[in-house]
Amino acid sequence: MAEPASMIDKLWFLIPEIVLFGGVVVVSVMGLARRRIVRDAVPLVVCVFLVAAMAVIPFLYGHDRVFDELGRSRAGLLMPLLGRYVKLVVCAVGILLAMMSVWLTDRKLEAAVASGRARFDPIRVSRGEYFAFFLLSLIGVMLVCNANDLIWLFLALELTSLPTYIMVAISRPSAKALEAAVKYFFLGALSAGMFLYGFALLYGASGTIVLTEMRDVFAEQAAAGGLNSIALIGMLISLLGVSFKIVAVPMHFYAADVYEGAAAPVTAFLAFVPKTAGILAIMLLVSTVGYGGRTAAGIEGLPQPIMVALWMICVLTMTLGNVGALLQRSAKRLLAYSSIAHSGYLLIGIIAGPALGFDAVLFYLLAYGVMNTAAFAVLAGLQRRGEEIESLDDLAGLRARHPAMAVVMALAALSLVGFPPLLGFWGKLSVFIAGVEAGRIALVVIALINSAISAYYYLWLVGLPILAMPNAQSQTVVKSKVVWPRVAAVLAAVAVVVLPFFAQRLLSGSQGVGTPPAQQPLADSQRARADSQ
């Protein structure tokens, strides 16, 4: 076996996380400050830390830092370059999400304090906590990129999810949010239990928790006549558990209720951050049992049962998501189902495998993060009777009074449907090309049919704001008091239009980051065999 990676090599790649953790500490203290101006600066400080983390990332992934002389990952990672792209994307979308969350909590309390009706009480404010949890969850995703064993992976996934339960609960002072949080928490706990159980079985089947070693063991098993059935069962259970994070089919049913219950900024957060973590986890997990087959002897792609399971999850997720969305009258529920459908599209890339497939998935995650954030930011940036807008009727005739928001919503919806030349089209196109290249024609055809179905409900989001006449309900929609969600919406919409011009650079940025170092597993396993003899 290769000697374990040194601590310093592992820590080196955690610098962005460490920076953000500094942010967590600073922010949670600042949120309790006595002076209003300090408390108000919290979101700004969050953005500063996110920018700082982004600034650090490009310097970390120099070739010599990532690989040793033999071309192996210094930190012992399965996909050593994953973080280079994903961490940047997470931080960038994180900035948009942080802008949406300005003044999400504590608005009433601060108003009361400002007018002198109440005294400032550190017990009652939750802004600092909210943004601390916000950053912790982002740290969780970034840690998933660095996971080199199952325990790390589990902890990182949970670090992504645990803060979100609290964020849902404190996102708005209503019973709905609490209900959503409780639902989300219990189902999340269930799913964590599931994939932990799956991890245990994987450990039992391979005798190791280190992902790279696991891959070598499984490659040998497969070469010797097929994977251990415990490994297969463990992998399937893990996949089902993780599909909770990406709202894929057997674990998708919570999405509509939770997305509806939480405030729009948190919903946007849920639709991007845990999903990214889940997709990365699936990429890491399935890479241990298959794909390696292209480089090591004996296996072609994924083992049959896992392929079938992923295929079915993918098809059901796309189809149920899109059909479900057709039945919705609430914009948030509609976007929840659309989030389910997009997980389906992402899974096509996973099934297509490393190289094109994983690159496309990573690019798609960026596209989805931006366009989805744009749509939710519109909902967050407007309000009716003091509540953020929710139903599709609220959107009718938005153009008359809030033209910018109407245009943003239309752009986001067109991009979500995958309409050229917007960002979503390039995401979908690269995923579909990857699927076709892997020979998954049927899957791509089903996805195309699904895109056609989805055009129907996304057209509502285009048509209602821009074309419909305002109705009595939407007449009363006003801008929310904070400008930042609308700024985030406009920024995201601009990105949807402008980023396609940089598609080449973005795609080449994701190029190869999902690919395990090619020749290594074979050499490692040969050496291992030699050692055991």
Binding site: P420, V436, E437, L448, A452, Y456, G463, F501, Q504
Partner: protein, 554 residues
């Protein structure tokens, strides 16, 4: 900087969009008119500088810099041959007229309107000049959005349903076409280990490397996309609705250019890309287009709504166009290309004329209008002129295209020495009924509306915003005159057009005679196997309807 030759055709309208957005609303229409006229002027310069009018080659080939994805072999490559340049000219000619023609009709949301008009112009030109599949697809799809908004915002009463149906039909169709094109690209990738989306390379590859059944599937996928746009018979139901509800200029764009995207797609992709499947399915597609010709013509006959009548007549007319394409000989293809141009001119003009009536009387109902020649002689002159052009009166443009399409179908029989085909006299004979029907329904309409005793609907004063004079204004005459002059000119002197199209058509048809002969020989052998006596006769009768049906199934 070669790319600017064609790139400016996209850039000028797009700059126009930006200018319309920036400047105040009252300037919008003049900016739009200026931008579209400038585009037209530039396209004329391109046409003059174009060197391949006679040899069928592509000119001005260049890629838009920086817009590319080398990993997938995608780059926004442009280039025109004579046919795509002709269609580009049609587009750039119609757009200023559409914009000029909308000056009095569009009163609200003016900036958006002219912005969308220029955006759709850029997208349509993009379709014709694209030499990269993804570039083509992006523009092809993007035409939907401006059209969706043009119908949805400025359309008439039933517009919500019309625009949704239009969007969903065409979007679904083109997704399926995308699947087919991706499949071809994938096969190319598996053969050469690299991605390419260059139309030329994929076409050459697909024609030679794909098996017959693969080609059949690709053909079906492509047809799903292009036949919806054309539209061919069972997929045409979105069109009358969209046409009727669209604003006048929207209808003109739709009939004049958007439908041509479908036939252009058939010409540029289907014919060269999947020849084996085209040969196998040509009789079936011929039958479908004939059904479309006759069916739509019969529907026209019973229409009360003039605009709907013209819309259905488009379905009928484009049936000829498709029939010409699938006769697989130079005559038919020439006819088809010329038909695309003619249809854009005369049907576009008819929509203008109907729109002018609607602006004055707020109705399109034939039973409420009669004898308008007494009130509007100038309008009546143009109406009769363009109806005759559309009917196919010899001496006007419509005749040339229709005649060549029918002649193409007629001579597309197995015993044709140079270009054997799979249609034949029967196809032409039945399709020709469509010409008779066209004469009937259009002339009946003219008889009712233009001539006869004067009947005018009473227009309530408040419905009238700005009162238009009874007869056409100079602006309206100015919109119609260029179209009329072109109709007459093409009708008198079609040779430049047929010569120009010839080179490109020869390139498309290059391998067809050989393939068709091979196909006929194979099916002749099969037939000879079943009936031993007279193989030659059987080969001959294979041209007729019954024999073709059997061959399609096989």
């Amino acid at each position: 900087m070669v790319w600017l030759w064609l790139g400016s055709l996209l850039l000028v309208p797009l700059v126009g969009v930006a200018a319309v957005c920036v400047f105040p609303a009252r300037r919008a229409k003049w900016i739009a008119l200026f931008a579209s006229t400038a585009t037209f002027a530039h396209s004329i310069i391109v046409a003059v500088a174009f060197e391949h009018w006679h040899d069928g080659g592509f000119g001005f080939g260049a890629a838009i810099p920086t817009l590319q994805l080398p990993k997938f072999g995608i780059q926004f490559e442009m280039g025109v041959d004579s046919v795509s340049l002709l269609l580009t000219l049609l587009t750039t000619l119609l757009m200023p007229l559409c914009i000029w023609g909308s000056f009095s009709a569009i009163k609200d949301r003016v900036k958006e309107y002219y912005g969308w008009m220029l955006a759709i112009e850029a997208a349509m030109i993009g379709v014709f000049i694209a030499r990269d599949l993804i570039f083509f697809y992006v523009c092809f799809e993007f035409t939907l959005v401006p059209m969706y908004f043009l119908i949805a915002v400025w359309g008439s009463d039933n517009r919500a349903r019309a625009c949704t149906k239009f969007f969903l039909f065409t979007f679904t169709g083109s997704l399926i076409a995308l699947a087919g094109l991706l499949y071809v690209a994938w096969q190319y990738q598996s053969a050469y280990e690299q991605w390419s989306f260059a139309i030329g390379e994929l076409t050459a590859f697909s024609a030679t490397h794909l098996s017959g059944s693969e080609q059949a599937w690709v053909l079906l996928a492509l047809l799903a996309g292009f036949a919806v746009k054309v539209p061919l018979f069972p997929l045409h139901t979105w069109l009358p609705l969209a046409h009727t509800e669209a604003p006048t200029a929207g209808s003109v764009v739709l009939a004049g250019v958007l439908l041509k995207l479908g036939t252009y797609g058939l010409y540029r992709f289907v014919l060269p890309m999947v020849p084996e499947a085209v040969i196998a399915y040509a009789p079936a597609i011929g039958v479908i287009s004939i059904i479309g010709i006759l069916y739509a013509a019969l529907i026209c006959w019973v229409q009360d709504d003039i605009k709907r009548l013209v819309a259905y007549s488009s379905v009928s007319h484009l049936g000829f166009c498709v029939l010409g394409l699938f006769s697989l000989n130079p005559l038919g293809l020439q006819g088809s290309v010329i038909y695309m141009l003619n249809h854009g001119l005369s049907t576009g003009a008819l929509f203008f004329l109907v729109g002018m009536i609607y602006e004055r009387y707020h109705t399109r109902d034939m039973s409420k209008l009669s004898g308008l020649s007494a009130r509007m002689p100038v309008w009546a002159f143009f109406m009769v002129f363009f109806v005759l052009s559309s009917v196919g009166l010899p001496g006007l443009n419509g005749f040339i295209g229709e005649f060549l399409c029918l002649l193409g179908a007629f001579t597309a029989s197995a015993d044709n020495a140079t270009h054997p085909g799979l249609l034949g006299p029967w196809y032409a004979a039945v399709a020709a009924l469509g010409m008779i029907f066209a004469a009937m329904y259009l002339l009946i309409m003219v008889g009712k509306v233009v001539f006869g005793p004067l009947v005018e609907p009473v227009v309530k004063a408040k419905e009238h915003g700005e009162r238009l004079p009874a007869d056409l204004t100079w602006r309206e005459i100015g919109v119609l005159t260029p179209l009329a002059v072109l109709c007459l000119a093409i009708g008198m002197q079609p040779h430049p057009l047929t010569h120009a199209a010839q080179g490109s058509i020869d390139a498309v048809l290059a391998t067809y005679p050989e393939r068709v002969r091979h196909h006929l020989a194979l099916s002749g052998q099969l037939a000879a196997g079943s009936a031993v006596d007279e193989p030659e006769d059987l080969g001959g009768s294979g041209v007729g309807g019954g024999g073709d049906g059997g061959r399609v199934d096989g």
